[in-house]
Point group: C2
Chain length 247, copies 2
Amino acid sequence: MIVVFVGTAGSGKTTLTGEFGKFLEKNEKRVAYINLDTGVKTLPYTPTVDVREHITVEELMKKGYGPNGAIVESYDFLMDYLNEYVEKILELEKENDYVLIDTPGQMETFLFHDFGVKLMENLPSPLVVYLFDPTILRKPHDYCFVRFFALLIDLRLGATTVPALNKVDLIRDLEKIKRYLEDVEYLSARLKLDSSMQGLLAYKLCKFLPEVSPPVRVLYLSAKTRIGFDELETVAYEHYCTCGDLT
Amino acid sequence: MIVVFVGTAGSGKTTLTGEFGKFLEKNEKRVAYINLDTGVKTLPYTPTVDVREHITVEELMKKGYGPNGAIVESYDFLMDYLNEYVEKILELEKENDYVLIDTPGQMETFLFHDFGVKLMENLPSPLVVYLFDPTILRKPHDYCFVRFFALLIDLRLGATTVPALNKVDLIRDLEKIKRYLEDVEYLSARLKLDSSMQGLLAYKLCKFLPEVSPPVRVLYLSAKTRIGFDELETVAYEHYCTCGDLT
């Protein structure tokens, strides 16, 4: 089965791909690793497929591109190899228990560029794990943002998306965060107290969340302590068996 | 008043900031330009404030960072200067008719990093123009994605966000696109025909759009032909006068 790690630069996709892969291998699973990041310097795993064989951000910058232009250009360039990647991944999916996909450093490259969208369209029931960082959770409306952002990834990529709070080893009061992320009524009650336009918008959005969101669990992960790895494996397995129902 | 251009790398933020500024100056408006992109190589306008005075992505890469790490690190570094930037922008807002803010090349840096979120929190009623590219509109559910993405920017930054289709000079059938973007009932009817999970999610989300979205116009812009510049100026003016009602 195919697990795709999506998240902003610095959210921990690459480290988690490596650590979760080692965890699976220790449990005697066959694992293939795919690196889709043209900008990464070093990887903590040995990729079976690596886009840097074709192009890197650094070599484009040497030709005169700025960093942003080079990132976009690298994926424009990779479009010629898209079918080749799809075929390789489909093959690896047959030969392995898990294919772990580490996506571009900048999340928007995967969500907004045809390379990411068309690759995902051609994969059989991939599970997307949307990694977000505790630092973006400052106010009640930030929790609403995260839940809807996961929905928009699902909508954009056409793949079941599980929101996953990463780096939980850094968090003191995880129970409070869990309540905000999982108990929509509790979150709504807090949002109702915020009379700003932002609070009002979050309140309206969250009210609809149970009606629009597929039943999805939130994961709590740490690559450092391997917290949540068992649950991630269970969710991936259930997704594979039931194709989507992750209550 | 403050107009903030937000969008993915390549969506045309920098070119539009320059061209719209020239357009305003020609109409005898006083305009200040703010560059927040640590990765841009050249600008088509003369910035009054430029984050590259403090740090650039390229200099961090020379110190050994990869491109993604360097982008994140540059905004971590700029946090020390955040108050200074806020003060400068507030001052420029008093002295000028317009302060145009050109945001980081990678949109996620602005939406997910404290630098962007905290800067916006401290500005008085900024108007966000969310630029998206015609290439991301391939299927009916992509229109739903764009409308909700604009809402999530509003939610994240706490600022009225106008979705703006950029590069309209490249589009053949603009009327069809306009109908999908503006006529939610028409879009819903098309989404209902898509029986995939993705189609169903888009249908459910769009059904709620009129209830959750503030009344906002969609803009159609081209920096090349200056299509839509009059309307952008009107929307900015109305936002400033009425603080948010952009029906």
